[in-house]
């Protein structure tokens, strides 16, 4: 196999996970995970349920606290205080499995919320920006809809627009298509693919192997809170080094 060079490998990584540990009671969710994410990369985290992928993502923007190790973002360790962490979170967009749109706000208000509340932007400018973002995700005609009147795929696209509104440097996707009807998965993945093509740095926890295969620059396989193996998608999907990776992929019906 030819040597593989990662994107922006000559620059400092955007995210560095250094021996990250996280426990829930007696359960060790993350057991010394070390990983780099470079600027402009799409890194997919795959592996069985409960293997720690989502926990790592949630530690990234401090929705979970670490029990050991360190995470650095743009060359600085994550701050320990709430006000400092709020500033860091503004540079990280997050998309949740269950969308978590605000049900009492329209699609437009959902997208504008971060701008008006956190950035203290005027309503008019925020709504203009929100409209542009909803247009970008293909929902220009749904700005006035409440989440309850949108399909799952549409809700998730609004959620992506909401995260993008803050102009994040990295987007964290936590199983963004797992709660969707099969027919709407494609529209969400296509928006994500467009983002990737534009050079957005993305960390994606996913069970969509074909997305990981086609869009990711780097694939990380988790098992039992540890990093089983990592590599470019060709390697992980065509010639995995770990036997457990092969088992996991064949279990999902992946055959190259």
């Amino acid at each position: 196999m030819t040597a593989f060079t990662r994107k922006n490998a000559d620059k400092p990584p955007m995210l560095i996970y250094d021996k990250v540990r996280k426990k829930y009671g007696n359960f060790t969710a993350l057991d010394g995970v070390s990983l780099n994410v470079n600027a402009g990369e799409v890194v997919c985290l795959i592996g069985p349920s409960g293997s720690g992928k989502s926990t790592l993502l949630r530690c990234t923007n401090a929705l979970e606290t670490l029990d050991g190790g360190e995470i650095s973002f743009e060359s600085r360790p994550l701050p320990k205080t709430e006000p400092e962490m709020r500033k860091v979170r503004q540079r990280m967009g997050m998309v949740f499995q269950s969308f978590e749109l605000f049900p009492h706000k329209t699609a437009l208000e959902n997208v504008a919320m971060g701008l008006t509340t956190v950035r203290k932007m005027g309503a008019e400018e925020a709504h203009k920006r929100a409209t542009a973002l909803l247009t970008k995700v293909g929902l220009a005609d749904k700005t006035a809809n409440y989440p309850a009147n949108l399909s799952g795929g549409q809700q998730q696209r609004v959620a992506i627009a909401r995260a993008l509104a803050m102009e994040p440097h990295v987007m964290l996707f936590d199983e963004p298509t797992s709660a969707l009807d099969p027919e709407t998965v494609g529209e969400v993945l296509s928006v994500m693919r467009t983002l990737a093509d534009e050079g957005m740095t993305m960390v994606v926890v996913t069970h969509e192997m074909s997305f990981a295969r086609r869009v990711a620059n780097w694939v990380v396989v988790f098992e039992r809170g540890q990093l089983l193996e990592e590599g470019p998608p060709q390697q992980i999907f065509e010639a995995p080094t770990a036997e457990r990776t092969r088992e996991f992929l064949s279990h999902l019906g992946w055959n190259g």
Binding site: N61, L63, E82, P83, R86, K87, R89, Q90, M92, G93, M94, F96, S98, E100, L101, F102, P103, H104, M113, G114, T117, V118, A159, R162, A163, M166
Partner: protein, 219 residues
């Protein structure tokens, strides 16, 4: 039996005044006890233990003491303890507020707890502070869910205000009882009182039903 209903018509202005005091008492109590309930619910959820403990003690005390006893306590004991000489109206208001705040606190607590943690996380992930998340995301949603319960509390409170008649607050029940004892028209006045409470209470109950239909959580 010799009934004379004219006493009701003759006392109409007094009764109307009493009814106005009843409504005023209900409205003022809710005006204080709704924010009071929110604050108590927040205090109970505080990570600072003494604050949480105080709020829990407050709620459990005033929720589990009969309201009538609370009214007497506020009238006889509170002035001794605090040195405050409040009017009967203000005293009654304090007793009602203590009781209803405690109830509202539990209502808000269950409403706030019913909002998925993911909603809070979505707000935090945008860079919002915990306070912003609470005010803009959690409370508006919780408010919709608790509105039907608050409306029911309002109707109960409207009737329970009659308990402050025992400390001579000039609301509807006290006024009617006064007229009764002066005119000896017991049956007429008690019937009139029941009719007035019903006429005012029934539309409120219907509005509550409507609020339940409009805002009630449907699974």
């Amino acid at each position: 039996m010799n009934l004379d209903w004219s006493i009701v018509w003759q006392s109409r202005w007094l009764l109307l005044e009493g009814a106005a005091v009843t409504i005023l008492l209900t409205a003022l109590t809710m005006l204080i006890a709704v924010p009071g309930g929110v604050v108590l619910a927040l205090m109970r959820g505080s990570s600072f233990k003494p604050v949480a403990l105080f709020a829990t003690g407050f709620v459990e005390l005033f929720r589990n003491v009969p309201l009538l006893l609370l009214v007497y306590w506020a009238f006889y004991v509170m002035p001794v303890l605090t040195g405050l000489g409040l009017s009967p109206f203000a005293t009654g208001l304090v007793a009602l507020c203590l009781n209803v705040s405690a109830y509202n606190s539990e209502t808000f607590r269950s409403g706030i707890n019913s909002i998925r943690i993911g909603q809070t996380e979505a707000g935090l992930a945008l860079g919002m502070s915990k306070g912003e998340v609470f005010r803009q995301i959690v409370l508006p949603q919780a408010w919709r869910r608790v509105l039907p319960i608050l409306a029911s509390t309002w109707v109960s409170l409207f009737k329970d205000t009659s308990l402050v008649s025992v400390i001579a607050v000039g609301e509807l029940a006290h006024t009617a009882m006064q007229i009764r004892s002066q005119s000896f028209r017991v049956l007429e006045m008690l019937t009139a009182m029941a009719a007035i409470y019903w006429l005012m209470g029934y539309p409120q109950a219907k509005i509550v039903d409507w609020i339940h239909r409009k805002y009630g959580v449907r699974e």
